[in-house]
């Protein structure tokens, strides 16, 4: 059996699946049940300063995008940080941590962007026995209007400053949670690092309006005839999150900064992908909110099966394995030639590949074979774009065949040559001469 145990910035957990700071981790009742279901760790729902608790809207706080069969693809929320008193949360954190010493428990924090409030809250958290803190510089609604959350996360100098204060006032590991609502994720990550962060976690939610109510002419979720933008999460945001994780890992300055991967993790495979791109563990929110805590069982069994099958002994041994293969476009091999091949046995003759290629691509699919309905690739036209593969409803029916070195590409009439990229390509005005 593969070893799923995880050590992230010194924090141990039996598996790399943590619940992200959000409603699933808002109270002791939830967190205990999450641990019982098998979650390796949780990041407690973000705590604010002592004093009168935060208030939430009392109308709907979520909007959603659904796929076929009402599968939840994207979720949008306008919830704020915890609306329960600080002392209640702290007491519960202490009690849970005492009973589950083998599980990770990290406390998410968001207080005003001043030194005193940070200095005041850290000893209180330390006293609970929690394993670390996560600084919520990501929340894009409500709190940002008050100068917190993503209002901090969008200014690298603030990130650095607050992180430095926190490191100064606590010995606990510090994870900085980043907002994706910026243009270059490497800047806030580097700022967190300069401030002394032990790790970054990303992504928090993305600014979004999921839909507009066409009777009320107001964004959803609608509160008394009006709506505010919210934060988007769930399966739909995974590609954005994966790229941001990869950017941090590919950047020399931040390559060694540990990353906790968040955003759309729904199955074991999503988690494995984040880990392959350099995440040391993953955090999950929407999948748990959609299916309940038991989804972690599939994540554990799936990751473990995949690791066994691939001979991967530990999670650590796969972290970042895909990073060296994340390249810039200009490094890709322009002499790598493939052609689509339609498996005639598997083909159900729906003709979608033909419509896609004929109408929108390269007119490289015949719609008749020997005078009868049938679909076949015309290699003289196929540019290997892969669109037919992606839109074919039969998995594995259309595949891409790699041309061997020296084989003639019927489209160009040229033989396949060894590796060469744009940087040396004759059409590139800035091409350096090949060595």
């Amino acid at each position: 059996m593969a070893d799923l145990t995880s050590t992230f910035v010194g924090i141990k957990s039996p598996n790399p699946f943590w619940l992200a700071s959000a409603p699933p981790t808002d109270k002791e009742y939830n967190v205990r049940r999450a641990y019982e279901a098998g979650w390796g760790g949780v990041v407690w729902k973000t705590l604010g300063e002592a004093g009168p608790p935060i208030v939430n809207v009392n109308g709907p706080r979520y909007g959603a995008i659904h796929g076929a069969d009402r599968r939840l693809l994207g979720l949008n929320n306008i919830e704020l940080i915890t609306d329960r008193p600080l002392d209640v949360n702290l007491r519960e954190i202490k009690s849970v941590k005492r009973d589950y010493p083998d599980r990770a428990l990290v406390v998410s924090l968001m207080v005003p962007c001043e030194e005193e409030p940070w200095k005041a809250i850290l000893p209180l958290v330390e006293e609970t026995g929690a394993d670390g803190v996560e600084l919520n510089f990501g929340c894009p609604h409500g709190m940002a209007e008050r100068g917190m959350g993503s209002a901090v996360g969008q200014v690298p100098e603030y990130i650095e400053m607050v992180t430095r204060w926190v490191k100064q006032y606590t010995r606990m590991p510090v994870i900085v949670k980043l907002t994706p609502n910026i243009t270059d994720i490497r800047q806030p990550a580097a700022a967190a690092m300069r401030g002394g962060a032990d790790a970054v976690s990303l992504i928090n939610t993305i600014n979004s309006i999921t839909s507009v109510n066409l009777d009320l002419f107001a964004p959803e979720p609608t509160i008394d005839g009006a709506g505010a933008h919210g934060g988007y999460c769930g399966p739909a945001v995974k590609p954005i999150a994966l790229n941001m994780v990869a950017e941090i890992k590919r950047n020399a300055e931040t390559a060694d900064l540990p990353v906790s991967g968040i955003g759309g993790v729904t199955t074991w495979r999503d988690a494995a992908e984040f880990i392959a791109l350099g995440a040391g563990n993953v955090q999950v929110c929407t999948a748990a909110m959609t299916y309940g805590f038991d989804v972690v069982k599939e994540m554990i069994s799936g990751l473990s099966q995949w690791m066994d099958e691939g001979g991967h002994e530990s999670v650590a041994s796969v972290v970042g394995r895909a990073v060296p293969n994340c390249k810039d476009w200009q490094d890709l091999n322009l002499n790598y030639v493939t052609k689509a091949v339609i498996d005639q046995e598997a083909c159900i003759k729906c003709g979608r590949c033909y419509a896609a290629c004929e109408d929108t691509s390269h007119q490289a699919i015949f719609n008749e074979i020997d005078g009868v309905r049938g679909f076949k690739v015309n290699e003289a036209e196929c540019v290997a774009c892969n669109l037919c593969v992606d839109i074919c409803p039969v998995e594995g029916c259309i595949t891409m065949r790699e041309l061997a070195l020296g084989e003639v590409d019927e489209r160009t009439g040229k033989k396949v040559e060894p590796y060469a990229n744009w940087q040396t390509h004759p059409n590139n005005p800035a091409a350096r001469a090949a060595e």
Binding site: D294, S301, E395
Partner: protein
């Protein structure tokens, strides 16, 4: 002249070996990867899922379906086998329409359940095809347990006990193991020698010895087993058949379970004699199986005659429909009176104030072969307290004799189903383990 469906009398070879093979193909052909993904995608991953509660072995169904949906059918199979080691057979024979699929929220809402049974088969087939056994034994406890009966109950008990580190010896009266999986279940539900293959795979856990041709009450005595072993589990099923004395003579009369057992052991079934006009008496699963398989062997006219009304039939609506689709005629309110030269004489019955009464009318149904499927009973009465006509057990499977447990069809409580036998065998094993480790 070779015989055909029109040949009068009870004869073998009404159809060619090829035609029979075609007729006895898998009732539900296995799902391919794509079909399994589409089917799995329909599952809502319900909380406290009704399907799992309805399953007598309480398989975590939403979890295993999600494991299929996420491309790990082997992990799905482990989820299934950890609760039900005969999950492969159950996937084929469980009347899912009255168990998990009946309560699937999509059945309730749309009349189209997630096809749980077929998904279970997809996952279990995948893991079993790899030829490996998913569990390993705990270290040897030094304790020994005798299991009598190698049917679903006995096998489930033996597997669990072996897994927990006990040394198990199974005794069975027959020359082969599997119980009714091997000798009773309809051939089209467990094609390709599945019962035997599953038995071999199950024994792959190790720590289990099997002795065939050893019958309790003949070669074996219960007291003897109690002396030789630390605990005894009885899973002897219902080896007797209920008799029905019909006056007169004419058609040949057989017990449906015996006829089915012989057919199940035949190589290509061309040697199994079946009437041109068959009348099956009974209204349960065995009657349906006998009637359908008679048709599949080429019987011209097959009638299932049941003495009560249709609503009282033990066979599910799905099974009744399956029988009808194979050309079986179902006649209700027909109580057999006597055999006559051309067939069977029936009295018409009616239910009045909950009582079954003869209406006084009679009628005949032509038959050259009559199959009796009116129930099985406990045979060779072991020296144990009974409840009704079965061995009395408590919720842990304990019998009236300390150190002796029982489960499956022979024991009181629960339906006579493969999956129930598995659950009872497994649970008794857990209780035996607790008793032996105390």
């Amino acid at each position: 002249m070779p015989s055909d469906p029109f040949t009068p009398g009870v004869v073998a070879g009404r159809l060619s070996a090829d035609e029979i093979a075609e007729n006895f193909q898998d009732l539900h052909p296995p799902l391919n990867d794509h079909e399994a993904h589409v089917a799995a995608d329909r599952c809502y991953f319900c909380f406290d899922a009704p399907c799992a509660t309805a399953c007598p072995t309480t398989i975590d169904i939403p979890l295993f379906i999600r494991q299929i949906a996420t491309g790990t059918p082997e992990a799905a199979a482990r989820t299934i086998f950890s609760q039900n080691i005969l999950g492969g057979m159950c996937a084929r024979v469980c009347p899912t329409e009255t168990l998990c699929e009946e309560v699937c929220v999509r059945e309730v809402a749309e009349g189209k359940p997630v096809i749980i049974g077929q998904l279970q088969r997809y996952a279990t087939d995948r893991l079993m095809a790899a030829g490996t056994h998913p569990f390993s034994r705990a270290s040897d406890t030094g304790k020994t347990v005798a299991v009598v009966g190698a049917g679903p109950a006995g096998l489930a008990a033996a597997h669990r006990l072996a897994m927990l580190g006990h040394a198990v010896t199974i005794f069975d009266a027959r020359p082969k193991g599997g119980g009714l999986n091997e000798y009773g279940i309809a051939a089209y539900k467990a094609t390709g020698g599945f019962a035997g293959a599953e038995l071999d795979w199950l024994l792959g856990i190790g720590g289990i010895t099997v002795e065939y041709g050893k019958k309790l009450g003949a070669e074996l005595a219960l007291s003897d087993l109690e002396d030789r072993f630390d605990a005894v589990f009885l899973g002897i099923g219902l080896a007797g058949v209920n008799a029905l004395a019909l006056e007169g003579s004419g058609p040949e009369v057989v017990n449906a379970v015996d006829w089915i057992a012989e057919m199940r052991q035949s190589k290509d079934k061309t040697d199994i004699a079946v009437g041109r006009d068959v009348v099956v008496i009974g209204g349960g699963m065995t009657a349906v199986d006998a009637a359908i398989q008679s048709r599949l062997l080429g019987a011209g006219n097959v009638t299932m005659a049941y003495r009560r009304d249709r609503a009282a039939m033990a066979a599910s609506v799905m099974e009744q429909n399956l029988a009808a689709s194979k050309g079986v005629r179902i006649v209700c309110n027909a109580a057999p009176k006597a055999l006559v030269a051309s067939g069977v004489l029936f009295a018409r019955t009616e239910t009045r104030d909950g009582q079954l009464v003869d209406t006084g009318e009679t009628f005949e149904i032509a038959a050259d072969q009559v199959m009796l499927a009116i129930g099985q009973s406990l045979a060779g009465q072991p020296d144990l307290a009974l409840k009704g006509r079965k061995i009395a057990v408590d919720e842990h499977g304990r019998t009236s004799r300390p150190g002796v447990w029982a489960g499956g069809d022979c024991a009181s409580g629960g339906d006579d189903l493969t999956v129930t036998a598995v659950a009872e065998g497994r649970d008794a094993a857990m209780d035996i383990d607790a008793a032996l480790s105390a």
